[in-house]
Symmetry: D2
Subunit: 435 residues, 4 copies
């Protein structure tokens, strides 16, 4: 096994050092010989390159880092292309969070209209990256943790031939919580899992093959509630929902909380990131800065490393990944990307068949998937009609009187990032119901 | 072909004369030799029997009417058992409409939590009727226009072997509207149609086999809007939604209108029905009273007669009926009742295969069907947990903070009509998440 | 409703007068104003035109017949394009019947290797016709009774946009037999029906909606045996198989009979057709010649007329037709043409959903459908490999040692009719396993 | 992790020492603390117990072996119940092989009518064993390598709640052959695999994730031909068929070879087994006798050990196992047992979704599965009609004139082993087509 080249697209992200740390920890099973750092933000690229070199040295390991603003240079020859971009940055995220609230609708980074706008901004850029990989590094795997990962992965798998692993740490979340609650090693925990990214459900939990009893389930429910979902609701469902289900099952509460808060999560992140980047820029900073922990959102590196190891070593591993359905989950279209346990090895990512979707939640999964498919098409085609129909299909919007002005305002606020929606002169594409 | 016996369960309904009128019009193709009138309300039964005898005479036709409060007597020997009951009467309907509004949720007879309570009250009674038919008149067809017809039909087809045609005039609605809009005979209009009762969509409309052009579709859209759905929305979707979709696509507007109104639809109906029944009771009243037109909600008799004729004469007819899916609509369970075009003849009701559900609305159909299946199970099992999960699955509720108290209040207000939910002493069944 | 133009492709067929007779009988409900006769055989075309004009006069009706050898002229303006061609004529049919027998394999016009060769010869011609219809008469319906109708219809529906009704009188066969056996009118008989052309099964037979009892079924079985299938087998299956199932369930017997016979069915037909055509050519012959009855194979006109009436009058009729599956039959691909009951009207042909394929025969239907799909692809692509794999997939061949030389001999014997299999110089395409 | 108890049902089998050897090799990862030997043949049980004790000592390891003729005693407390029985012994196998040949039909242990009779004899015994496991050791896993493993597993999964792994070394066969052909380690080879036991196909082969090129595939084809399937056929299909497909693709050749041979495989095995057992009985024999290699048919222990290790250690492993379909393979019923790659760990056996069955072979898989399902039902119900319909559904029989007398003779020859087919007086159940 030879050393592999890793490319990081969006290397200026504050998460990059976490990945570096993981690569050092797993250097035996995933020997990386070169890391290409690519970013469109030259300043961040420079700061992160310098910090990661210091950090690698601090960890007692050496991998050459090559910074570049030439994407093809980064991609060519890479075995893995980690993509962690944020089109429009946190500034646009704040608008995704704030604008829907004005209409009494959840404003969130990946859920609801905010998530759709993030998809509309991100998908055209992701397709460019994927087409580069397809053409210039066709054996490479895109390791995607760019959100909304389900929609991004669906666009890439429908419109390119590039190999992509659409990741989220959400697949490990129930394992972590159950391990905590039951005081058993995480690897003893197994479960069935079905749904979409940020809209999934865990069930049939076992410890070393033994199903949980009711009291154990309740303990896991209390832990998996995570301050997001009412434990009583989890106990009624007998399923562990993704914490993002709070936006569906506690909508009014979440909207009220958001309205009362002075700052959105995006604004908090902006401040924390400024702090973190100041630390990275400090030439004396050699380890992960303390502020990074407060930034949150980690855990991606664990799953990314697991996927890269399974592929590199051709050693099968069951990992929750976003993949095209192709019959794995009944009732959903073949090309719909779903988040399910998959067998990952050098031959690729193979979804495990999901014999049954729980009887209480197959409808909401279908409804949100319908929205997702329309949003992906809207992004690819730059169609206001499809974007409007996506919002009408979304269980958190649905209302025509709300959807129309909300969509107009959101699109206008994202004009610079929506090349497919606005023509060369910047004029909005007219709504034409006959299209 | 011999004369058939028809039983009307709930014969005291104000709609009965409309059916009588239809039977007279179609006496050649559907020769009815006896009509059994059954009702639990003896006064209404008496009034309606007397009026219908006068009305038949007025129409120059004679069919013996046998009033009875013995259900078995009515059912035995019948070829068709028309069921048009309203468990709890309009008094409970008004509560179904009013209580959800207090929680900011649509209050409606068949849609949302109000429709669920109607199902919880009605299904146990319908199952009793169906089991009588199954046992004592197994060749008979139940002609059901008791709402919510989709849920009622699902309960009957899952839990009994009785033959049932779950009807709604909604399947003819697009034909009526297109015929008006295009000034062509209704029978020249054909279309694809898919969904659930009161949650369906019409598409691929043709006139004498020719697809509508855009201008024609837009004219149909304007007419099919019916003051319920914004024509612009219909033109964007390029589908004709059931008018009941107004509660999904114009939720906030409908709630605001309802809050501002002094009376609910149920209360208006109560007043109109009093007026109508006063007329029926008048021994000089021989024809349909003028107030009946204002009562609205007719059209059922047209579709009921079409079904009975197709069965009686073994002459195939394509009619929109609620039937178990059994593979006709992709993505929905086999036992889920769907509202689709069916071929009806003496051999029964055979769903036409629906090759594709429109890409913009398959999610909402699935979401509402998931609610419906949970509500049916809740009704049959008397399970508060399932009723709660049904509301959580419903796109118009979904919110746990709302669903819990709303459900408690609704169940309490329906206590006398929910034998499966309350034990003999009338105590509420405790919520037990472990059930 | 205006008079329609009908085009007959292959008008020189001995079946044409039967269709003419039907058109006269149904002139009220299907008013034909013009018939274009097209054939590549000018002599037959002339004979048939002259005879049919005499025959129409004899029947007391007048429809102008326009003979032409210009296919576009025939097709343009036509509402219905009846196609009844025989590529290679009866001479090739005899080879289809004789060659497989040399290898111990069933030799039959539509079943087994003979049927495949007929498909390989016919499909390229049918695609040309269908593309003409698509381009020059896109509203027209192809009324196909060219065999093998299932494969021909699959090729046309996969590779063109032309509207086609793939017909066979086999869908009426159980009705005729049950009507005879039970002495009831044919229209009182209904049944479920599933499978492929010449490989189908009838079940759930009813008379005026009442299921047959065992004694009645056994009587129908005796009649439906038709000298082809052992009645004991039918009684064991409790299904009525197409008579062509004799080649599967009585293979050895049928092969032995064929080997012992001096003449194949094709040779008999050749002699009968010569006799029939001599009669047609006689200027004094005004009615259908007596020899035609001995020719057999009629009944197509009945179903063709039923389809054309249902479309022309937009009056729904349930008719067994070959249509793309698109979800109607579980377990078969969407693009697989199946033979099932369909609702036919001006809006087209809509398959009824088939909830369950009988548990005893779904496997053989799948196996033969797999062969059919490979044979269609082989015909379209001119691929020896696909033709070989089609024979390996066929339950009547399957054996590699037989399939290879058999295929070679069959292709060679059909060289002039297989433009896609032999290049311009007439050299056989080499077998290349890597294609 | 504590030591596990292993029960071997049919411990007198000549294969037992191979399993013992594997247990010693894998003692670290699968620490077995006790082995219960169960057999109905006391002599064999005694011989095998004594030999295995000597063999264990010879291998330098010690596991207590407890011989018993009380099945419950063996099963109780066991974590794994290995079942390797042969109902009727090799004597009946010889009849399975000889009788069909008299009718010109393949006579084989697991394929065709011989395999059906083996299933009819074996399934009632297996259901008894499985019901014991279900009742007295419900956490145990049945590790089944009793043939026909697909049918046996289907019967157990349909009619009991016992956990069962239906194994065959066939899932490793393509790995072994590809490893040999390409001179790479077996574990570098991955592939897709679909079908039934002894009727499966391997495709999309990769070496360390890289797809084979054409030349490599051809080399694998030559090796996987295994003297059974013509390499040219494999190269045309571009799939690796199970060697048992020789009975379908080379039927006439196999029948001719069998007719010419003096002895059947069963008779050869009888002689070899006598030789092997003589060696086992020799008190000086401490290692596997040389004659065992000539016995052949090994390889089961490798896959059995892999499954037991994955379950015991809760360490996921992708292994080809026979499991109920439940949506994994399109087009086959949910309860149909299929042989596909599965993820095995302590939580059980989860089939990987098979997105596409190769276009050339889905029909034969369906046809044989249809036979299998009928044969399982025939075994469970003791129904001659179902057994007859199973043979009619089998692509190697299908012929009613052959199937009837062949079935009669086979059943008669197996009378003592078919308690469900013959009543207490031993009289044959009459064929009643109305059942």
């Amino acid at each position: 096994m030879q050393n592999v080249k890793l490319a990081i697209i969006g290397a200026g992200s504050s998460y990059t050092p976490e990945l570096i740390e993981g690569l050092v920890q797993e250097k035996e099973s995933l020997p990386v010989g070169e890391i290409a750092f690519y970013d469109i933000d030259e300043e961040r690229l420079e700061v992160m390159t310098a910090f990661c070199r210091r950090y690698l040295k601090h960890l007692g390991h050496n991998i050459p880092i090559t910074p570049t603003t030439d994407r093809l240079e980064a991609i060519q020859g890479a075995r893995f292309v980690d993509v962690q971009i944020r089109v429009g940055g946190n500034a646009q995220r704040v608008l995704d969070e704030r604008i829907p609230l004005k209409y009494g609708i959840v404003g969130q980074e990946t859920t609801g209209p905010g998530g759709m706008l993030k998809a509309l901004r991100t998908i055209p850029v992701m397709l460019e990256i994927a087409r580069d990989v397809e053409r210039y590094s066709s054996d490479a795997w895109i390791i995607n943790y760019t959100n909304p990962t389900g929609l991004v992965t669906e666009a890439v798998t429908k419109y390119t031939q590039a190999q992509i692993a659409g990741l989220c740490s959400g697949g490990l979340f129930p394992q972590w919580r159950a391990s905590d609650a039951l005081n058993v090693p995480p690897e003893s925990i197994r479960y069935d899992y079905v749904g979409l990214n940020h809209l999934n459900f865990t069930f049939n939990i076992t410890v070393d093959g033994r199903p949980l009893n009711e009291e154990e389930f309740d303990r896991v429910a209390d832990r998996a509630s995570w301050g997001a979902i009412d434990p009583g609701l989890i106990k009624t469902l007998r399923l562990i929902p993704s914490p993002y289900l709070q936006y569906y099952f506690h909508t009014s509460k979440k909207i009220n909380e958001a309205v009362e808060k002075e700052y959105t999560r995006g604004e908090e992140v902006q401040r924390l990131e400024a702090e973190v980047f100041a630390a990275y820029a400090d030439p004396d900073q050699k380890a992960k800065p303390e502020a990074l922990a407060r930034r949150g959102g980690g855990g991606y590196s664990e799953i990314a490393l697991a996927v890269m190891q399974a592929i590199h070593n051709n050693r099968e591993k069951i990992i929750v990944v976003n993949v095209p359905n192709r019959g794995a989950v009944r009732g959903l279209p073949d090309d719909a990307v779903v988040e399910i346990p998959c067998a990952v090895d050098a031959a690729g990512i193979h979804g495990l068949s999901v014999p049954e979707v729980p009887s209480t939640v197959w409808g909401i999964i279908a409804a949100v998937k319908n929205y997702e498919q329309l949003a992906v098409e809207a992004a690819v085609k730059g169609s206001r009609e499809l974007a409007l129909m996506a919002l009408l299909a979304h269980p958190l919007v649905q209302d025509y009187e709300i959807a129309r002005p909300l969509l107009d305002e959101l699109l206008e606020a994202n004009r610079p990032y929506l090349p497919t929606f606005f023509d060369v002169d910047g004029a909005a594409t007219a709504i034409d119901p006959h299209q």
